[in-house]
């Protein structure tokens, strides 16, 4: 099987400070990988380098595109990468307002990505938007409302709908449940799990919440000071961590 994403030697420095260094892994179709570590461990830097939001100092990211097979995305031209970002890729931000257009209606937010792919028929776009609002459990009657009138959890679900409407194959998520109430988190996790299973999505999820990765991720990478200190099957890393830092991380979780 061809990996969907091959990451090799990704390194990013901020002056003398290490963002992340020499990170390599393969992600296969349908796999969900979690990246955990404390704040400043480099997990968001890594995610942004892979997703093309930040230029790494070294390394390669090879993605198996739908049309042209494996392509190196860091050296790709900006328009090509932007196209990838609208088709095969999606990026879910921690703060929904970074991923949404707050001045545009909910339906418009979902429809925008479709229009970027040259869908022009207003009725079709609206139907798809309304279908996706339903899938993320937002009442269809809210289609013309702006996201500013939505709760935090609804905004996050709207961001997910906006990202998934074009059927991406790889979703990057930066703390998708961060800042939400626990009950809203559970609902979002359930939704994400269903979408991953039903659409065969691959995803890379950055989070500091170990409970989130246990439920969502097949594989786990633990980062500290820009380095990957441990990687493996999620339940193995969480239940039998090998590295001193992973052991500390797992044992520091408060039991409920």
């Amino acid at each position: 099987m061809t990996p969907l994403l091959c990451v090799q030697g990704i390194t990013k420095r901020y002056g003398a400070h290490i963002g992340c260094t020499d990170v390599s892994f393969d992600l296969y179709p349908g796999e969900v990988m979690g990246i955990v570590g404390e704040s400043g461990s480099g997990k968001s830097t890594l995610l942004n380098c892979m997703a093309g939001n930040l230029a790494p100092d070294a390394g390669q990211v090879v993605f198996d595109t739908r049309c042209d097979g494996p392509r190196e995305t860091i050296s790709m031209s900006e328009p090509e990468r932007r196209m990838l970002g609208r088709t095969d890729w999606a990026f879910v931000h921690q703060h929904a307002r970074d991923g949404l257009r707050m001045g545009v209606s909910a339906g418009g937010n979902v429809g925008e990505r479709l229009m970027a792919l040259d869908e022009r028929h207003y009725g079709d776009i609206r139907d798809k938007a309304s279908d996706w609002l339903g899938r993320v459990e937002i009442d269809a009657s809210r289609i013309d409302d702006r996201p500013t009138t939505f709760s935090g959890g609804m905004q996050q679900r709207l961001q997910i709908a906006r990202n998934l409407v074009t059927g991406p194959r790889l979703v990057f998520m930066d703390e998708p449940t961060g800042g939400l109430d626990v009950s809203v988190q559970a609902r979002l996790l359930d939704l994400l799990r269903g979408l991953v299973r039903d659409m065969g999505l691959s995803a890379i999820i950055v989070t500091h919440d170990l409970a989130v990765v246990r439920l969502l991720a097949d594989r786990l990478m633990v980062m500290k000071d820009g380095h990957v200190v441990e990687a493996g099957l999620t339940d193995q890393v969480l239940d039998d961590p090998q590295h001193a830092y992973s052991q500390l991380l797992v044992s520091s979780v408060l039991q409920v």
């Binding site: 296969y28 796999e31 559970a186 359930d190 299973r197 097949d218 339940d235 193995q236 001193a244 052991q247």
Partner: protein, 227 residues
């Protein structure tokens, strides 16, 4: 079907003075299709640890654990995930689920992962929930609020919806009443009859002697413990 060759395991506790605790030393045995083998030994002998190693949940330091020709000790995460989906079932003592997901879907999930339609998977799940005496009015609720015995039965139902060729059972009959215990033992007997290889931990001696063909005393492989 399941074969262990010279398997050993030690835990290194880096944050507690790098203490090294040897738990399993040089275990070798094989379980054939249609056979049920009990792991025995005092509490703390490492029965559950060994079970978790066979599931790939705990890392094995040395030796080989072969299931359906895959060596779990060397396997990539995705190979283990595929093995767990297609071949290797595990009923643990604890039920771990996404909050909010209805019991019926929790039980149907292993079949859904194999691509079985929602309708067919739910039909099979319903049959098992009936068999295990979980009242139908609870099926649409999340099992997180159920009693210990109910959760245990949901866990068992989930482990038996799909006919796994290899099954690991960690105390499947603990905290069950006699009637339900009998149902679980029949499920195990059915699985054996269709050729599943089973490894189980049973504290209940009567249950053990009813379904198990052999016993393996793990204390023999526990450093510092007298068998």
């Amino acid at each position: 079907m399941i074969e262990l060759k010279h398997v050993s395991k030690a835990f290194t506790l880096h944050n507690q003075g790098s203490a090294v605790i040897e738990v399993i030393n040089d275990v070798s045995f094989a379980v054939a299709a249609g056979e049920c083998v009990a792991l025995t030994g005092a509490s703390g002998a490492g029965k559950s640890t060994l079970m978790r190693m066979i599931y790939g949940n705990y890392l094995t330091q040395s030796g080989q654990i072969l299931i359906d020709d895959l060596d779990l000790v060397q396997a990539e995460p995705r190979e283990i995930i595929t093995l767990r989906r297609d071949v290797l079932g595990y009923v643990s003592q604890f039920l771990r689920v996404v909050p909010r997901v209805p019991t019926l879907d929790v039980v149907a999930e292993p079949l859904r992962l194999l691509g079985v339609s929602a309708v067919d998977a739910q039909r099979r799940a319903s049959a098992l929930l009936h068999q295990l005496n979980i009242p139908e009015r609870l099926w649409s609720l999340s099992p997180t609020t159920f009693s210990g015995g109910e959760q245990q039965r949901v866990n068992i139902a989930r482990g038996f919806t799909y006919n796994f060729p290899a099954i690991l059972l960690d105390e499947p009959t603990a905290s069950l009443d006699a009637a339900n215990r009998d149902v679980v033992l029949s499920l195990i007997e059915d699985a054996k009859a269709r050729g599943a290889a089973i490894i189980g931990i049973f504290h209940d001696e009567a249950a053990r002697s009813r379904v198990c063909d052999r016993e393996i005393d793990i204390s023999r492989f526990t450093p510092g413990m007298v068998a």
